[in-house]
Chain length 342, copies 4
């Protein structure tokens, strides 16, 4: 059976990634596309790499006809999403890729995003979209909140050992190295090629990165008590990929076992042999996650490495994985593309 | 129906690209893999980005069992291929990705490759593998010779206008800008990241590049008289992609029309509107070709731009497209993956 | 003797490059800096790589005091320059890095820049700043017009063989591969890292690039009759560097001899042995030019390759070289820094 | 006064960097160059970016005449250095850039490098070359051991707060992101452009990186008791630069004050305002170090960021800084070149 898809905010990178992945999905077909400033253009004009695909024109959201649409992916900017989704037919299944519905507690939302939530009822309804940990809830959900890409990478590393009780909870340090596409297609000086290439550095330091809101929420839930990790992302001169190094206390073998066991049946998560190191390029363009565990020289110290492609497993691939569950497709449908290498 | 595939030389980039593409092909299954120095390893060790795929182990060619194999892709180094293929069962369908069978005339082979051909009977049998121009011969062939990646790009640009008689034949200049993966995974100083990134330059200059042998053969055939173009490739700090600028005499509209007409029904070739410029990144990781035509300010001068991914349409994608024809699959099977962007 | 320098438009790449080079110049000292939107900031805030240098604050042009300033470098946007320079004290020596004073004929300016020149008297006074060809005029000039970076690269390749009469004038094709810093620090989508890296393509095609105005002016002057070349620049995923391939008719040895002879005494121009190929990275960050000449397989066909760093020899280095002449310093003062490699 | 320099191992990146820097040094002149496999070639053939500099030919070490040489820079591979230096005239001042003389304790050397030291007397004589902490010893030394580039970056971050007693000593975690030139010009698969670009990952994990030997030695000395940090380097797709994030316990203001005070008079070290983040590109090609300190959200947690160019301050620039002290030149002579940006 083929379901009809609408993509709101199709002119950004996550929108284009949705179209790329859906193009070879056996059960999804794009029927409506919205863009704001680029309404009236074709997708081929905005993203010429998609010109071989037969696609509807870019329209404003107001122009779209949602009759016959089974599922709507919202790839809109943060804050815009909550206003737009409030106006959509409430029978429509929705996967939101913005940050608007990731935090369950309105107070948390206000703390991290600086203003009250505009659609608290929807916020309450939304299911957090990290598939491997919310599979059953997602299957039953109408509105799923895609996770932050950094937030996903950290959780893949740490949720199983936290749940298994094999790592300390008060001295977790996460150091991430992130490709630039996570910042989107926005015109900012620091995203220029001449500024970024051949240089790298930390950003969002000092506990200020908003994905900490997700870490706090999910790690505390997994631990059954408040957990606040330390987190520093870095901008790397590459387009796709997140490499997370999580420095923890705990026995390496126990940590490795907790991860291997938790992910034993997961189709997209590969736990490497103890001591092996993943690389971002080994998952680039794919929905896979590679995880490695290393024993430090100090007794009881372990480092967990995880890699994802921020646009795929960190965003649009995750969204389709969730849509597959919501619509009754095979969870891996359209998502088994191998990474592009080199 | 599923056909069984052997890949010889699976530890190089074209071998890995074959595995990547076949992984989502509905009618092909990899049953045997050879590697020379890396025999005994798994593909996941050599290319960890393929670790989620169930694959046979890497063996030496001598260890392989060809019973039950329907088609063999030879991704071996130049000169090795002709020796190996001579020893393969002569009932096996073969797509060779090396340069060994591209030139039909033994004298041409010796001129460009510096020694006599070791398998002249096979050389005679081989069909030149540029699908769009040899479709019927390939369908009937047992042995198909994959083309040079630069050679393919130049021919996509020039064969239709040459055939249509709309460009001059004696003043064609082709300037190409090539990503580094075309040079393979070999350990050469100029291929190091520290040497290549942030710099670019011409190589194989002065009429010395071996793909000129293919240009001479195919352009002369298309024109019905000898044609010798001028060709200069450049190495660019990027991994995948070839951008060809062909400077010709001829009327822009006539050139554009000849290309648009020739490729009107081609599933992988997109001729852009007159004046539009293709980009390598718009075909990266895909089997597509984008072609643009521009009118120069001087009357009667035209420039033709063409882009391909050297590892896909320039090599492994082309090989699968040919295999599809040889085995009776839909020509586009396994090859409709959209480019990876960004 | 130390001369005092003002830099107008110091917040762009050419402004920063001027500061970098002047920092080790024995006879120049920066005394005034202007920026428009960034007035009020320090140079260390705008360009932290310069924070170890003692510099004046960024001010608006109106706030600057030109008393005591010996020479002013104008690194302002095109069209702004002519308005600003008209208002400067007419005793001030000026090197303008914009396009405003490169074309001597008001009609040519209007043709290429789309509106009449606002300071025709200054336009008449300005000397074209390609040092190697206008050395004596520059020495005596008050106002020197820095050349286009592409225009410089093409002229270094072609002026000597044109003057020597050893190449054909009616079939010159120049294909250039340009780093992105030539486009400046402006916020344009195609300059984003995610858009540019891993892809390359032609731009300004079809005779539309404004540097053709300089080519027409200077090549015609060198030839003593109208010359209109064909020119196609390409954007390359690298920050600094221009690689020019000029395809010409002419005997390779004669072309090589013309270049070698013309540049025999030039401190910044290296003509490589016949057949050798320059690389952009071999001049990156320096004021040097490397030139190579190659014989094509077709008799009477020659290709000339030239490389420069667009920000140094193509802009700010050239500007200082001219200032050295204007102020009586050694021509190479402050400019003998070796390229940065790797 | 001009001193005569010999460089052993001039065909590697640190050799080329020494030549680049010495080219504008007022008091040093290169008089002898050695290379092993490339003996007989000119430096211009091995590194065309240096072709404008008048240099002696590359010879084998045996062919070199050390009469008249004042100082010798040894840029030889690890283990080779100790054998070669033993044979040099013992009146010659030497700066060794290898790892051979960095560890003072023969047992430490054997532990980290896997075999006994071949020149224990020299090992005893050698002074550790981190200029800012061994200035007086270096001034008097005959043999100075250049530090590891990672080791230098970590020490710049941590020695002052360790000495000041403002950070915990038992939970220091250093996460580094390193450009590829630190691995030299060696032909290894993982250093190829196609392998490295667009991907990043950790290496030398689990306490196995040899620079830990230097950290243990120097941090323990600074603390007055054994200190063993946790250290994970990452390979980044860039050529030059190291970014170190050191995660420590301690009050941010006290840490910042310790660093600011320690480096107040240092010509090459810039401590940024509290909360500011350095970038590798802001020191690229220069001898400068930028250091930033950030307060984490957890009370008593601080992160220290430091950047250097591994080939300059991390190796060849540091070597010249030390040579300046050993020869009585101004410590900054030849080293005030501003970074190259962009």
């Amino acid at each position: 059976m083929t379901h009809s898809v609408a993509i709101l905010g199709a002119s950004g990178y996550t929108g284009a990634e949705l179209v790329r992945l859906i193009a070879t999905h056996p059960g999804l077909k794009v029927r409506a596309l919205s863009a704001d400033r680029k309404a009236g253009m074709t997708m081929a004009e905005v993203f010429p790499h998609l010109r071989h695909i037969d696609l509807p024109p870019l329209q404003t959201i107001d122009e779209l006809d949602f009759a016959g649409i089974d599922i709507c992916f919202c790839a809109l900017p943060h804050a815009t999403s909550q206003a737009v989704i409030s106006e959509l037919p409430d029978t429509l299944k929705i996967v939101d890729l913005s940050a608007d519905f990731r935090l369950r507690d309105p107070a948390d939302y206000e703390k991290w995003y600086g203003k009250p939530h505009a659609a608290p009822a929807l916020q309450k309804e939304a299911v957090y979209g990290l598939t491997e940990f919310y599979r059953e809830e997602i299957r039953a959900a109408r509105l799923v909140a895609g996770t932050g890409c950094n937030a996903a990478t950290g959780q893949f590393s740490l949720i199983p050992p936290i749940r298994a009780g094999v790592i300390g909870l008060d001295d977790i340090v996460i150091d991430m190295k992130c490709g630039v596409s996570g910042a989107g297609r926005s015109l900012k000086e620091n995203l220029l090629h001449a500024e970024l290439s051949e240089g790298w550095y930390a950003y969002g330091t000092g506990g200020g990165h908003r994905h900490l809101g997700e870490f706090d929420q999910e790690f505390s839930k997994a631990a059954g008590r408040p957990v606040e990790v330390q987190f520093t992302p870095h901008l790397i001169p590459g387009n796709r990929g997140i490499f997370a190094a999580s420095y923890v206390s705990g026995e390496p073998r126990a940590v490795h076992a907790a991860l291997a066991e938790a992910y034993a049946d997961e189709p997209f998560i590969e736990v490497l042999p103890l001591g092996a190191i993943p690389q971002t390029k080994h998952v680039r363009g794919s929905n896979f996650v590679h995880i490695g565990v290393v024993a430090e020289r100090a007794a009881g110290r372990t480092t967990i490495f995880a890699v994802i492609d921020n646009l795929t497993k960190g965003s649009s691939g995750q969204a389709i994985q969730n849509a597959n569950l919501m619509l009754g497709h095979d969870e891996t449908a359209g998502l088994m593309l191998a990474p592009l290498y080199p």
